[in-house]
């Protein structure tokens, strides 16, 4: 009983590096993390779409988070991963430079994101979580997965 209570108040954040920025998202939104890199390029796709991937018979669109967040095309490093998240009607993979720990975050310590965080557009973050030595930007998955055309409509 007590444990479930704890679970409800503490958010578990899966953290990962996008470029040099440490980001995190609610672990419950993550379906899996893999290192499949056999992507098929899709000509004419939006620039931030890296390609498509066969995830056990499902076609998964892979989004390069760096580009999506406007961090340019820095080196991917040698341990890139796909974070597969659930989106309405499909799965989408977010390509990150590397993954980090799972952080138990106290919701009270999550602060609203500054408009401009490490050069990343503030709109993609719901907040910032401060650990002892680091800041974790909490990704707004909805915003990240939103189509750019929709963005325009929204604005």
């Amino acid at each position: 009983m007590n444990e479930t209570k704890v679970n409800k108040t503490v958010i578990e954040l899966a953290t990962f590096y996008v470029g040099d920025a440490l980001c995190g998202m609610d672990i419950l939104k993550v379906q899996e993390i893999n290192k499949l890199m056999e992507m098929t390029k899709v000509p004419q796709a939006p620039e931030y779409v890296l390609g498509i991937l066969n995830l056990r018979g499902q076609i998964v669109t892979i989004i390069d988070l760096r580009r999506k967040l406007g961090l340019g095309t820095t080196n991917l490093g040698n341990d890139p991963r796909n974070i597969i998240v659930n989106a309405p009607g499909e799965h989408i993979g977010l390509l990150v430079k590397s993954i980090s720990d799972v952080v138990m975050a106290d919701p009270d310590k999550i602060e609203p994101a500054p408009a401009n965080m490490s050069g990343i557009q503030g709109t993609f973050f719901t907040g910032v979580y401060k650990t002892e030595n680091k800041l974790i930007g909490i990704l707004d998955t909805k915003e990240v997965l939103r189509l750019e055309t929709e963005n325009i409509n929204r604005v």
Partner: protein, 967 residues
């Protein structure tokens, strides 16, 4: 209103829609039955209406409930045989069921819908049925729609007087006006808690709109989101899934134990279970075609009433099952075809009678399996399709030519109806013939991977057969590769695969404007380079290194040369220098390797056909279509994706959107390409000189040609006619001796064979006749082919050309005679001796063809003149301005690009200082008018091309004349 439980609501909707689907056909059956009421049937409809009412009441859908209730009341009367189901009444019930369907499809807004019109009509019927004398009610309706039919009281009338009340049907079917007028009636029946109608007018409008739209709306039902599957099938699936799990466990065990033999068995088992599972799952997608067919009785009924026709519809094979997606997609084309049959096929009763047919037409809708496909046939016994008329119309509309029409079979003519832009309807009705027609049907079917075929006999009727695949989920595809990625092209779109070897690209691929086309069996096929459309880096597959390399060519023709037939003459010159760079050098080697072959996938979609240039062609495979994610929906050109055997993904290409992306629009694109190509062809033949040649042989393997205008005549002789006198071969000819030569005396060619029949080609040179011995076959042809003056050039042979697929050597008769009889030309040589001190005269040769220019230049230089060359009039003018002081005369071709010979001559002759220059025109155009024109602009002499002797004679003459002038 809030719907607490979506599932219950969804259940209600599905159930109700099912009921409604049945109601429609049952009502039609009831109508047919007339007075002989089938109580069982009426009961069924009654129960259906009742359960809709009940469900709606439970869900709080009061409007639906009311309407169902009103319908139920009327049905109750019919059931208790108090009311005879006339077409009128059935119509009202049908309209009510339509309305119900709409309401149920849009449940959320159903309570705010206005149904008073339907309810009023039903209530009137109900009341009239309640009162014993139903006829009493009729006058009331009559008031509202004056020519109201009096059918109700006499049940027999409906059945028997069908032809007679055709006229009455017209006003009657428009029970809409009846409703219209009754709708705003201020006293809606109080019994059925009327909706408050503060604004009656807009309601009428909406009502009308709804009713008008209803047929159209029905034809595009909402895509179903749920599907009903029999429990037994589900059980089967469950079993198979269980099997699969068991097999997996076995497999895992085997893998751990490393038992190879067992692994094989397990593998087989999994294979079996998987295929069974696949089949079973496919079955869940299968639906009876009856789902589509069922609506046609109504369509035919309504339409035939409207058109005053009598038509029976027979449906066969309702149980034939098709994939759900196909069932949904086939709806529109089928509706169109059935409506066509009713509108254009079946005649009106009087016409039918006059032709000795039954007044009632028959349309048969039939579905059956054949050869792994489902065939749907729509046949009628109407007037049939007149192939000749179709062909006439097609010719008139410019879709085909008269000649094409002539050679077409009757069946082909009939199938012309499928061409875009074809509509035979003589009068345009609102039923069909709106300019869109069968081509849309065909396009729709093409998209489904189906085909359509029409058979017809004038006066007897027509049959349209549609063939459809059972499913769309698995489709055969051609796998291709471009830019290192694989793509799949549905086999349905695939026409053929074309591979043009590197050496043939020049001949086959041409540029028309900025479009590339390929000649395919006489037709021009527009080409689309896949890498361009998709903006992929161009690559080519290197077979030696087995890898893809970037490709730098600008266009296809660049593979071998920049020149195309259009620009050949101009571009061939600078090319060699350009290509000396290292990079190009490599590409030149590549040109000869297999990797520069063009791989073209010829695809078609609807009426459009084009070639897609890809890097590599792979196998054909059966693939499963998977949708692309949301982020990729905006990308054009893809129909989805599929997973290949190696686990990687290949994108499936959408052939029609690729055409759009490349700017090809249906027929226009290819037609335009055709037109342009024709123009280009004209331009080619215009800019290039045609040369008339006499072709002959002198040995079985070798073929020769001489310019026809040099030939005096051709004699057939026997071998014995040739006499060897004084070391020379001669023959008797016109009372004298004709010296004979053969090519092998001079040139390194095969000797003349020993044969009885020989030919002598007589030339007239230097005032004498000479005969060239040859053998047949001889032929006179006009060529505009390229003349190669290098490869086979030798003494007596000026070059070669490919004529009729054979390498033909062009004989230089002057050289031959000069070699054999040098003394013949000595007179002229004497005549050409100039003063040693005087400068050698310079001649400007203007000629666009390399071959002729070199030829003439050769003659001149041989005779000791200096030569300046120019490629065309413009070039020549520049030369003239630069070197005027040296130039003694101009020898010019007539047919040239940019500035032709006439123009050049005119320019020279009207110029104050140049006008004294003699101009000799060389031409293949020997027509009188050309000569006249030449004279008019000031040409001094006119010579037929390559009549060396006469040309040189006049050149010498003019050269001498110009000498004294001191140039």
């Amino acid at each position: 209103m809030s719907f607490e439980d979506d599932e219950i609501l969804q259940g209600f909707i599905e159930e109700s829609l099912e009921h409604l689907a049945d109601i429609e056909n049952d009502l039609l059956a009831i109508e047919e039955g007339g007075a002989n009421i089938d109580v069982e049937l009426v009961n069924k409809v009654f129960r259906a209406a009742h359960s809709i009412k009940g469900g709606a009441g439970f869900m709080g859908l009061s409007v639906i409930q009311d309407l169902a209730h009103a319908a139920e009341n009327v049905l109750g009367l019919i059931r208790s045989e108090k009311l005879i189901p006339t077409p009128d009444i059935v119509n009202a019930l049908l309209l009510a069921s339509d309305q119900l369907q709409q309401l149920i499809e849009d449940v959320a807004n159903s309570n705010s819908a206005d149904i008073s019109a339907n309810v009023t009509v039903l209530n009137q019927i109900y009341e009239s049925g309640e009162s014993p004398k139903s006829a009493e009610k009729k006058p009331r309706q009559a008031k509202e729609s004056p020519p109201a039919p009096e059918v109700t009281s006499e049940p027999a009338a409906t059945a028997e007087e069908e032809p007679a009340d055709k006229g009455q049907h017209v006003p009657e079917e428009s029970s809409t006006p009846v409703i219209e007028e009754s709708a705003p009636s201020p006293e809606p029946e109080p019994v059925f808690e009327p909706e408050p109608d503060p604004e009656p007018e807009p309601e009428i409008d909406t009502l009308n709109v709804v009713q008008d739209k209803s047929p159209a709306k029905r034809s595009t039902p909402k895509a179903e989101t749920s599907i009903r599957v029999t429990v037994s099938l589900l059980d089967q699936l469950m079993n198979l899934a269980g099997e699969l799990v068991l097999s997996r466990n076995q497999l895992l065990q085997t893998i751990t134990s490393g038992d190879v033999r067992n692994a094989e068995a397990v593998g087989q088992r999994i294979d079996l279970v998987t295929s069974e599972l696949q089949e079973a799952i496919m079955l869940t997608r299968m639906q009876p075609i009856g789902n589509v067919f069922n609506k046609f009785p109504r369509v035919v009924r309504d339409l035939s009433k409207k058109l005053g026709k009598q038509i029976d519809l027979t449906i066969v094979g309702k149980d034939v099952e098709l994939d759900k997606t196909i069932i949904e997609a086939i709806n529109d084309p089928l509706t169109h075809l059935v409506r066509n049959s009713v509108d254009h096929g079946v005649e009106t009763p009087d016409i039918r009678k006059s032709k000795g047919k039954d007044a009632k037409g028959l349309i048969v809708l039939k579905a059956f399996h054949a050869a792994g496909q489902v065939v749907i046939e729509i046949s009628d016994d109407g007037r049939g399709i007149d192939g000749d008329r179709i062909a006439d119309t097609a010719v008139k509309k410019g879709l085909i030519t008269q000649e094409q029409a002539k050679v077409m079979s009757e069946k082909e003519r009939i199938n012309l109806i499928l061409l875009p832009g074809f509509s035979t309807a003589e009068k345009i009705t609102d039923v069909s013939g709106r300019g869109v027609g069968m081509d849309v049907v065909k396009t729709n079917l093409d998209q489904l991977g189906g085909s359509i075929e029409i058979e017809s006999e004038v006066g007897r009727g027509s049959t349209i057969s549609i063939k459809l695949p059972l499913t769309l989920a698995i489709i055969p595809c051609q796998i291709i590769m471009t830019g290192g990625e694989r793509y799949a092209i549905p086999q349905v779109n695939l026409e053929e695969l074309l591979r043009i070897p590197a050496s043939r690209i020049k001949d086959r691929v041409e540029r028309v404007g900025d479009a590339e086309v390929v000649r395919l069996r006489g037709n021009l096929l527009p080409l689309i380079r896949m890498s361009d459309v998709f903006d992929i880096e161009r690559t080519y597959y290197d077979y030696q290194e087995e890898s893809f390399k970037p490709d730098r060519r600008e266009n296809v023709a660049d593979r071998r040369s920049k020149s195309t037939p259009l620009f050949r003459e101009k571009d061939t010159q600078p090319e060699p220098e350009q290509e000396k760079t290292g990079e190009e050098q490599r590409s030149q080697n590549r040109r000869r390797s297999p990797s520069s072959a063009l791989n073209i996938v010829v695809v078609s979609t609807g009426a459009m056909k084009y070639g897609l240039i890809v890097d590599r062609l792979h196998d054909s495979e059966e693939i499963v279509i998977k949708p692309l994610g949301r982020h990729l929906q905006q990308c054009q050109g893809y129909a989805g994706a599929t997973i290949m055997g190696d686990g990687r993904i290949a994108l499936i290409l959408d052939v029609s959107s690729i055409a759009r992306m490349a700017g090809l629009t249906s027929l226009e694109g290819s037609e335009r390409a055709n037109e342009l190509a024709e123009a280009a062809k004209d331009a080619i033949t215009k800019t290039r000189d045609k040369q008339a040649l006499l072709t002959f042989s002198s040995s079985p393997q070798e073929h020769f040609g001489v310019p026809l205008n040099q030939v005096e005549r051709v004699e057939k002789i026997k071998y014995n006619d040739v006499e060897e006198v004084g070391g020379r071969r001669v023959m008797q000819y016109r009372g004298g001796s004709l010296p004979l030569v053969s090519i092998d005396e001079v040139a390194m060619v095969q000797p003349l064979p020993d044969q009885e029949d020989l030919l002598v080609i007589v030339f007239h040179l230097a005032g004498k006749d000479i005969g060239l011995l040859a053998t047949g076959p001889i032929d006179a042809i006009e060529i505009s082919a390229d003349i190669d003056e290098i490869t086979l050039q030798q003494t007596g042979i000026m070059g070669s050309a490919i004529i009729g697929g054979k390498t033909t050597m062009l004989v230089d008769i002057f050289e031959i005679v000069q070699t054999v009889n040098p003394q013949w030309f000595e007179d002229q040589a004497v005549g050409t001796s100039y003063d040693e001190d005087a400068p050698v005269p310079t001649i400007l040769i203007v000629e666009d063809s390399n071959f002729f220019r070199n030829q003439v230049k050769g003659y001149m230089e041989e005779a000791g003149f200096n030569v300046i060359e120019a490629e065309d009039g413009v070039d020549a003018w520049q030369m003239l301005e630069e070197f005027f002081a040296e130039i003694a005369m101009v020898v010019t071709d007539i047919e040239m690009p940019n500035m032709d010979g006439f123009e050049l001559t005119e320019k020279i002759k009207t110029h104050p200082t140049y006008s004294a220059l003699p101009v000799i025109a060389l031409t293949t155009l020997a027509a009188d008018e050309d000569i006249a024109r030449g004279k008019r602009v000031g040409v001094n002499e006119y010579h037929i091309k390559l009549d060396k002797e006469r040309l040189m004679e006049s050149v010498h003459r003019y050269a001498k004349e110009s000498m004294p002038s001191g140039r």
